[in-house]
């Protein structure tokens, strides 16, 4: 499986007491997020809501692509890809 990097916002990085850049091996975007939560179960409640979907105001980018525009979260990954978690904020 290709190795990718998951970038976390600092507010979540502090919870797991680890670097904000986490190497993960996964075939797909969804697989990477599942692997991330398997490794750090405390992140699960912060990324996903009760329905199992990403929380409404959590943004997830696959490289430069907002994953909300993808047809499926099971999009394939390539070695060196970056998955970035951000909070959806706009303006003040």
């Amino acid at each position: 499986m290709p190795q990718v990097t998951v970038q976390l916002p600092s507010i979540l990085g502090r919870i797991i007491d680890e670097s904000r850049a986490i190497p993960i091996e996964a075939d797909s975007l969804g697989g990477a997020l599942r692997a991330l939560v398997d490794r750090h179960p405390a992140l699960g409640v912060h990324l996903f809501d009760e329905t199992g979907n990403l929380r409404q105001h959590v943004l997830c980018f696959h490289n430069q692509t907002n994953t909300r525009w993808l047809h499926s979260i099971e999009a394939p990954l390539a070695k060196g890809d970056t998955i970035t978690i951000l909070q959806a904020v706009s303006g003040g």
Binding site: I11, L12, R14, I15, P41, A42, V45, H46, L47, D49, E50, T51, G52, R55, H57, V58, Q87, A88
Partner: protein, 352 residues
């Protein structure tokens, strides 16, 4: 011995420490920077539990033995997917008995039998026959107050806004509504016994059947465990407010009335705490050292605490981020030298 005050705010928790004179305070923080710290409690073994929440990242419960090293509890309170409910925040923690309780928004009660490591819903309350008629107050549909009877672990009270007070006499299996004598604020077509908006609850430390209730519609007292309630408003210039606290040594009560549910600010900009030394029969305003002009901040329901020393210390955190302390049971007050984010919770502990 020292005094530790944990102030939970919109942007983290702050630790205020003093000796028992409670005249000078050192401030540390923020802990959980960026998170709402919605409520804090300490269990009998001395472990601290902090509930956090975020509009973006949801809620969680954390535990620490030393206030430095924190661990997020992985199996904290959570609604099952099939309930179609969201767990927005933990409003209150009751760690008084070996069975811990957490009251949450969307309203419900959870219990832990293993020291807080895993939590289960109290189905008898959460799936109460009136559940479909529960409607939120301005602060959400939240279970924000849990009382337990130190002499009978089967007896539990839970306050839910804007539903009312429930009591269980069988350890949480079944629950009865305890709103008799309380005016309705939201009328349901079918269930006329709910629609009450409880804001705060405290019990007499020696008599669990005597409970004081800051309600949307006034101040009330029961002497029969909630079966009947009577108004106790003599001396109050407003009976609308949120927090209520009781000193377990002297049984003195403290509340912070605001001008009406419509305005929710101190009357005429005078910030007053009210005290009753006779079980709510009469109330007196406390003003010495509290801002008495141009003060328009509020105090949320979990942002008033007492330390049970003699004389009792009283601690108030405001929506303006100010902290006001009395080390003489409320006779005089000082403002701690800090301006914090909006304060959600205040709790106080003795430390060796």
């Amino acid at each position: 011995m020292g005094v530790l005050v944990i102030v939970g705010t919109d942007k983290g928790a702050f630790l205020l420490r003093s000796d028992t004179a409670r005249a000078h305070w050192k401030i540390q923080g923020p802990l959980f920077k960026g998170w709402k710290v919605t409520t804090v409690a300490r269990d009998a073994s001395g472990r601290y539990f902090v509930a956090t929440a975020s509009d973006v990242y949801g809620q969680a419960l954390h535990v620490s033995e030393d206030l430095d090293n924190w661990r997020q509890i992985e199996n904290g309170p959570a609604w099952a997917k099939d309930t179609e409910r969201k767990l927005n925040q933990i409003w209150t923690l009751n760690l008084q008995t070996s069975r811990f309780y957490a009251g949450v928004d969307e309203a419900g009660l959870f219990a832990s039998e293993d020291g807080g490591e895993s939590w289960s819903p109290i189905e008898g309350l959460n799936e109460h026959p009136t559940r479909d008629s529960w409607y939120p107050g301005a602060g959400g549909l939240c279970a924000h107050a849990v009382l337990t009877d130190p002499k009978n672990s089967k007896r539990i009270w839970c306050g839910i806004s804007a539903v009312g007070v429930f009591r269980s006499d069988d350890g949480g299996l079944t629950w009865e509504i305890k709103n008799q004598g309380i005016p309705m604020v939201i009328e349901d077509k079918q269930h006329k016994e709910i629609g009450r908006c409880v804001h705060g609850l405290v019990a007499d430390p020696n008599d669990a059947d005597t409970i004081y209730r800051q309600e949307h519609t006034g101040m009330f007292r029961t002497r029969d465990g909630g079966d009947t309630w009577q108004r106790i408003e003599n001396g109050l210039d407003s009976s609308f407010g949120f927090p209520i606290a009781i000193d377990r040594t002297s049984k003195t009560l403290y509340i912070i009335p605001l001008e009406s549910d419509e305005y929710r600010i101190p009357i005429d900009g005078r910030f007053r705490v009210y005290r009753s030394a006779n079980g709510g029969d009469t109330w007196d305003p406390l003003t010495n050292g509290l801002p008495q002009e141009n003060a328009y901040m509020g105090v949320l329901r979990d942002a008033l605490a007492v330390d049970h020393l003699d004389p009792c210390g009283v601690y108030v955190g405001t929506t303006a981020g100010t902290v006001h302390v009395s080390n003489d049971a409320g006779d005089s007050w000082t403002q701690v030298s800090c301006i914090l984010p909006r304060i959600l919770s205040v709790s106080v502990y003795m430390q060796e």
